[in-house]
């Protein structure tokens, strides 16, 4: 067992009887050799002495009828909180339902926005992925891509991407 493991057993060891005989023997062997663990055990015993010595004198005992007073207090609080509890019990399902509806609406809104942006952005991305040899002799690019090229140039030059299309004379 490591020093850390022995150290972690000191609380149980100080409680006596909480460790089995084998573990106790091993720990006692370690304590003979380890000053740090001996100090920690002394600290446990010293603080135990202080705390037990500091026992306050006999404290108050429950007065006769204390349990009745508790029940009275319960009824008072139950009476006060019952309407609020009823409201809360009804409000929670309603709020959960509202959250679901709002979630569905937000999802629909987001997906429609995404769909609107897809054709143009996908087209631009397609061109961005083209090899650097694009346009050079011998590069094989499908006809569709070539046809789309003019549209991409338009998109890039238009205002939404921060430029103007001089080719078409558009702003």
């Amino acid at each position: 067992m490591s020093h850390r493991k022995f150290q972690s057993l000191l609380e149980e060891y100080a409680d006596e009887s909480l460790l089995d005989t084998k573990a106790s023997q091993e720990l006692e062997e370690h304590l003979r050799l380890c000053g740090e663990c001996r100090n920690q055990l002394s600290l446990i015993e010293w603080t135990r002495g202080i705390i037990r010595m500091a026992q306050p004198e006999e404290g108050p005992l429950p007065v006769p009828g204390f349990s009745r007073a508790v029940i009275h207090e319960l009824n008072k609080q139950d009476y006060l909180w019952r309407p609020l509890r009823l409201i809360a019990m009804r409000a929670i399902p309603v709020m959960a339902l509202l959250a679901v509806i709002l979630g569905v609406l937000a999802y629909q809104q987001a997906s429609s926005l995404f769909k609107q942006q897809t054709p143009e952005s996908a087209l631009v991305e397609t061109y961005a992925d083209l090899p650097s040899t694009w346009g050079q002799e011998g590069t094989v690019i499908s006809d569709t891509v070539f046809q789309d090229r003019d549209r991409v140039v338009d998109i890039l030059m238009e205002g939404r991407f921060g430029g103007t299309s001089e080719r078409n004379g558009k702003k």
Binding site: L43, E45, I50, I51, M53, G59, P60, V63, V70, L74
Partner: protein, 214 residues
Amino acid sequence: MGEAASIIMGNPILVVAETELIRRCRSGDQAAFESLVKKHERRIFGLIHQIIRSSKDVEDIAQEVFVKLYFSLPQFRMDSSFDAWVYRITVNQCYDFLRKEKRHAQVTMSELTEEDASRFESLESTTQPIPTDFGKALEARQIADRLLSLIHPRDRMLLVLKEVEQLSIEELADIFRTSRSAIKLRLFRARRQLQAACEKGRKRLKRKSSHVTS
């Protein structure tokens, strides 16, 4: 748990009786809850007194503990320890009380005076049993009480539950909802705090006595 709690927990008839009482309480049977209060009131009073170290507010806090216990019974898992549940509510209630009372600030600012330290030095080792002489015993109790008041209330609660209520590490881990190693670490820190508070007083005393001799 403490001795009384161990007897209760070790007796299957009493455990079954308590489980039945809890079931009845959960279905709104106030007579059953009254029986539950009667069964635990003495122990709860004692524990609160141990933690807050004043007789004045014990009854009010105990009442709040039982009211909280009643309203939290629906969340109680029947397969877990009811005693740990009661201890947890009591400890939390006491801690709230101490926080409200602002004893916290008072505690961290105060230190062991030279007089306390000198009285402490004059006593025999604290690991010995409480002195048989009444005057000495009272003095020892006052100094030990003063020392305990110097540490953080949360640490004091932990030490009281461990050393006075004699709860095991496992039970403490259950009450504070943490791991056994975390409890051991907190206990170690609490003990070191107590030691540091005492050392501080001793150092002040030494400084004072060296001033007087020079």
